[in-house]
Amino acid sequence: MEILRSAANPWGQDVLVGIAWDLMWLALIAGAVFVVAHGIYVRWIARPMPSEEAFVPGEGVPERVTRHTLPSRVFHWLMALAMFALLLTAFLPVVGIRFPWVTIHWIAGVVLTLTIVYHVLHAMLRQDLRSMWIGSVDVTEGSQALARFFRRSRGLSPKAGKYPLDHKLYHHAAAVVSVVAIVTGVLMMLRIDTPFWNQNPYFLSDSAWGIMYVLHGLSGVALITLIVAHIYFAVRPEKRWLTRSMVWGWIQREEYLLHHDPERWVLNRGPAGEVAGVEADRVQLAGAASDAEPSGGS
């Protein structure tokens, strides 16, 4: 199985051309394996979550807590649509389904780019950046989860802030991969005729283009796996409340209190009365992290 495709340029020098299409199948398989493994793990292997700690009183928590505002939801679904169009137009021809994919692909690419630009501005100006920031708390949250996974600890990892660590990690991974795909994709648009310019493959050297194509390819196939996982989690029964929140924007009061630590995801009344969460920069939660048993547990 090849990883990369290369060819001899007109001077006989070896030059990267792109990724080998086997990687696409690899990515699909990786996604499927993850889904199956995770499904099996949750179904049969994972120890039941210890009963939640006493119900933390949640006074002042409204019946419906806004998790995703309308603009961010619209952004999410628009981006998802563009992403889907991009993946389909990129990989269906490779599997043999022939159709004029180039125009749809670059238009979807432009749409994706615009949505991402909007998202970055929206996040910086209107959203709470820190909710995505991975702080020390998250590290402990993560290490707890890992310890539990490896059966070295029974303890309960601290409640998440607005976004649990796996969400944050996933977001950042997807962000990096998408940015790579977008940057290389925009540059590669110089290789096709558009209403605005004619193709000019000599904008970069052919070795530079080779790297561009490989990165675009790698990020493309990485997105396959990421999106397979993303959709899988979205449809898992126990995560449906999260999926609902991306549709309607709110989660129920119990779900908020069950999954989130009000200290870290502080709700305050927005001007329109709806409650927007603000990630509190909580100090290390006293005690909670230290009861992890030393290694060599049960």
């Binding site: 060819a7 340029n9 007109p10 180039v102 125009t103 493959p201």
Partner: protein, 333 residues
């Protein structure tokens, strides 16, 4: 590794004598096989070692695919019928003169004696970057070397380019599109029939192929309906030399005139796009109009609307316009 040209590599030669055996062989050898009919296009690739099949399936023995037979409503031509036979076959000359004229304009007598009509419409493009073995899009790479600001693209396309700007060079293809012919394709799964216009692929659909044929497919017959039999035909091919050369631009048209007006028309041009380009807008425009100079001029202008010339092929615009004009003018003569 170093490159060498003009020296055929070794391959295994298989010579089936029936369509069944042929499609079976193609199925078994898959991507490593190559179909060879007349061989004029194939040997160009094999001798330059740019394409390296392990197995060549030579169709000289499949006699059932040679010859012309009348059908219920037209003619059926075996894909292995030589261009010389097509150019001189009485039935074709009398009822579908457009095709016999086109076949007679291909390359040279020796090539017409050996080249087949199936091969002529299924041949690969002649872009000299691609034929030179460069790693261009069409060869699986990621660059079209013919569409850069410095490229030598005098013989490339002004319509329908999508990253790749090569042109279809077949002379019989526009004639078959104008005659609304159909292509019969066989493989181990069975037979499918494709309209001439849909037989050819542009780079937007699949940049590595000029036709719908996939590995394992065999073009067996070309069926021409009688819809355009006896219409007023016009074929012209403009080229640098009067033998050997492919068309810079060619036009093939079938026009039925009744009562001094164009009842229906079907016009195709080649050498301007990655596939033979039918001109439906022009056909609609001229319908019902008298075949005079004004109609011809209007048709010509419309034919080149939306063209997007490259660095060196702007001349193909007036040339295409004038050829369409001449086709319409001829309808009135």
């Amino acid at each position: 590794m170093a490159v060498i040209r003009d020296m055929m590599p070794t391959f295994e030669l298989l010579q089936p004598t029936s369509v069944e055996d042929t499609v079976a062989l193609l199925q078994r050898h898959g991507e490593r096989s190559w179909v060879l009919a007349g061989g004029l296009d194939s040997l160009d690739w094999l001798k330059d070692r740019v394409k390296r099949p392990e197995t060549v399936v030579e169709l000289g023995g499949v006699l059932e695919l040679r010859g012309v037979r009348p059908t219920a409503n037209g003619l059926e031509i075996g894909a292995l019928t030589t261009l010389s036979e097509v150019a001189s076959h009485r039935e074709i000359v009398e009822r579908f003169g457009l095709l016999s004229t086109a076949a007679g304009h291909v390359a040279t007598p020796q090539i017409r004696n050996q080249g087949t009509i199936g091969g002529n419409i299924s041949q690969d493009t002649r872009c000299w970057y691609y034929r030179g073995g460069w790693p261009c899009y069409r060869a699986g790479g990621n660059t079209c070397y013919a569409a850069t600001p410095q490229s030598m693209n005098r013989e490339h396309c002004v319509f329908g380019g999508s990253r790749c700007v090569a042109v279809s060079v077949s002379d019989t293809a526009p004639a078959l599109v104008a005659l609304d012919a159909e292509m019969v394709i066989r493989n181990t799964d069975g037979e499918r029939v494709v309209a001439a216009e849909d037989y050819f692929l542009g780079p937007d659909i699949d940049i590595t192929r000029m036709t719908v044929l996939e590995h394992g497919d065999l073009l067996t017959h070309i069926r021409i309906p009688s819809t355009w039999a006896g219409a007023r035909f016009y074929f012209e091919k403009v080229r640098d030399r009067q033998s050997w050369d492919f068309a810079l631009v060619s036009v093939a048209s079938a026009i039925v005139v009744a009562g001094g007006r164009i009842e229906r028309a079907r016009i195709a041009v080649n050498g301007v796009a990655p596939k033979p380009m039918r001109l439906p807008d022009v056909e609609n425009l001229v319908q019902g109009m008298p075949p005079n100079e004004d109609t011809a001029a209007a048709a010509g202008e419309l034919a080149i609307r939306g063209a997007r010339p490259l660095r060196h092929n702007d001349y193909k615009l007036p040339l295409t316009r004038n050829l369409v004009r001449r086709a319409l003018r001829d309808a009135g003569a």
